[in-house]
């Protein structure tokens, strides 16, 4: 890589008393990419994130930001939206955005300009002099988001960003994030709801029980875990012999999943269907969802683990 990874985590370890929250985790994130940090609740994602945002420090290992060892100067280039988030209820919107922006290193003039610009984007200019508690919940969430990005960070870290958001705000945030990525901002999503970030992430890191169990480009991983499954959509009837030749899953009057055996090829199946005059409406490869990837990976690493999503042992 010509440019250093925006974040590089090397053998990082963090324990809280007896409990090891982050267990020798390493990964690297290319710049202006969208990375998903996925894993069940209690897996250690937030602990890891807090180390990247310099809120806490690792017991062992190192973290690099854009090639430099992580230091107290870097938070001004990082935007952080924590899972448990909120604002000062009794402060005015504009004043609060200014305060948070200035804490991130912006001077007064720039902070004010940025605040007004962002509020304008969300049609919230009129809320400048209102107290946060006077705003609707949706508006408060928007203000919260603005506070996270107002200082033009190089890296955005969003912990469970969609929790509590109504669909309108969720879509808005999605749009803004994609736009920021276009402008060169790196984004880390952390969530246990993998389906929420499926379409967004280019890279993923799977965390389970404090360990990095899988990382890489989403397309590569999906391909690696692909299961030779295909989805067929059709009209009319299927040839009776089909079930004997191929493994059919979830048949409905208009669609069916077909699982190819190792020796079977997709093109042969298509030829078979065409030969038997099946009216094909659609035919596509079924790639595993990240959920399925996760479960597969966990069980692969630990066949005895019957409950992969139960990371938080009492």
């Amino acid at each position: 890589m010509s440019t250093p990874p925006i974040i590089e985590v090397k053998d990082v370890r963090k324990a809280y008393g007896e409990k090891v929250a982050v267990d020798d985790v390493s990964f690297a994130m290319p710049p202006d990419a969208i990375l998903g940090m996925l894993g069940p609740n209690g897996a250690g994602k937030t602990s890891l994130i807090r180390m990247i945002t310099t809120i806490t420090a690792p017991d062992a290992g190192e973290i690099f930001f854009r090639g430099e060892p992580l230091s107290g100067y870097h938070p001004t280039q990082i935007g952080y939206l924590p899972e448990e988030r909120g604002l000062y209820k009794k402060m005015y919107v504009g004043e609060q955005l200014l305060y948070l922006a200035r804490l991130k290193g912006l001077d007064k003039k720039t902070a004010e300009a940025q605040a007004r610009e962002w509020l304008g984007k969300f049609n919230l200019e009129d809320q400048w002099s209102k107290k946060v508690e006077e705003l609707s919940k949706g508006m408060q969430q928007q203000v919260q988001f603005i506070a996270t990005v107002i200082h033009d960070p190089k890296l955005l870290i969003l912990d469970e960003p969609f929790s509590g958001l109504d669909p309108v705000n969720a879509t808005r945030m999605r749009t803004e994030i994609l736009r920021l990525k276009e402008q060169g901002t790196g984004v880390i999503f952390s969530t246990h709801r993998m389906e929420q970030v499926e379409e967004l992430c280019e890279y993923i890191v799977l965390i389970n029980q404090g360990k990095n169990i899988l990382e890489g480009k989403v397309s590569d991983i999906r391909r690696k875990f692909q299961d030779d499954k295909f989805h067929l959509e059709f009209e009319g009837d299927l040839p009776p012999g089909l079930a004997g030749q191929y493994e059919l899953i979830n048949p409905t009057p208009s669609g069916v999943d077909i699982h190819l055996r190792p020796d079977q090829k997709a093109n042969d199946l298509l030829r078979y269907l065409l030969d038997h005059n099946v009216h094909i409406v659609g035919f596509q490869e079924l790639l595993p969802s990240l959920n399925e990837v996760f479960i597969k990976q966990v069980t692969q690493l630990d066949p005895t683990n019957t409950n992969p999503f139960d990371s938080a042992e009492a």
Partner: protein, 442 residues
Amino acid sequence: MNNLWLVIKREYITRVRRKSFILATLLTPLGMAVFFVAVQFIFSYENDEVNRIAVVDDGDVFAGPIPDEKGLFFKFVDKDVETLKAEVLGAEEGAYDAVLHIPVVKNPRARDFRIEYFSDEPMSLDMEIAIKRRVEKAMRNYKIGQLELDKTALKALDTDVEIRSKKITVAEGENEDTSMAGVVGAGLGTIMGFMMYLSIFIYGMMVMRSVMEEKMNRIVEVVISSVKPTTLLLGKIVGVGAVGLTQVLAWMILIPGVIFLVTIFFGFDADAAQQMPQNPDIDPEEMQTMVEQVMAGVMEMNWWVIIPCFIIYFLGGYFMYAALFAAVGSAMGDDLGEGQSLTIPITIPVILALYIMMAAIQAPNSSLAVWSSFIPLFAPIVMPARLPFEPPVWQIIGSLVVVITFSGAMVWLAGRIYRVGILNYGKKSSLRDMGRWLFSKY
């Protein structure tokens, strides 16, 4: 450093412009003024009443006229009691309000003497005191005459003992006259001790609430991604301290100011002295000297030492307790009621210190007072109270060192607890948890 200043500013401005702050700062002096006026009013109202008392002095106990006071007039009347009683009931224009019957003195050596007061209204306490005093004084003179005692010899019986207190110093020249120092010192010491006590409670708890508020509305994690937790903590303590200082300064200006305006406006200054029930025994000249001596005592106080030391104790005491309150605040969960018990270990030393302070005023150099001046949690309240009594210099210095060091240490320790506690959302943490956090590496 810049971030620290931003935090201090925010803590200060958001508090000072709150309605509750403005109201409290303005209403307290106003309230005191209203109270002041009301008291004056009550006194004067009572004395608007005019009571004219007809005195029937059968045995000529009174050698001369009875001294009147505002609202109370005595007149010797040469009628019999029954007629006068009827007049009182008749309530004609200019009639008397009461009849005082002083019978003949049967035995000048008797210790008891009963007189009668007739009226259609009950006798007020003030009147009872006024009448009693006059009659007792008259009786004294009467008995002196009847028993043919030497008046001048009797006068010599009562001796007014005055203690002249002088300080022994190494320096040449006359010893300082410290007569009034005791009284003034006690007053000053009490005031300073109480000020410390109240400040610690009011502003210490304000810090705690600030910590809890940030935790509860979940903004704290956003803030500490930009600011170190210890910086945030320090900014909070300083910011709230500035709010406290502002309020105290405002009161120091407003309270005397309002009282001054009120006395001018209502013209009570000169009359106030007359409103008080007259006590014929107190010599107005004596009062004057007493006031002068108090002023002298105030002047004598070692202000060059007292004021700077008080300021240092004020800051040190506030910082150490504010830090403790902050640490406790960070351990609170979302349920406000549960965490109240955590504040007890802090409030107990404060209250104890108050009691020790009151004892120290009586005995400024007792071992209790001396030892407590070196116990960090007690010193900021106890030592200022001792300052007017000129404790030994080494004690002052030692105590200051202890307070300054301890408050610095407390802020540091509180920081370690605070930075772990604020991210522990939901349930309240126990004292043991807090102890663990002290040692956790962050």
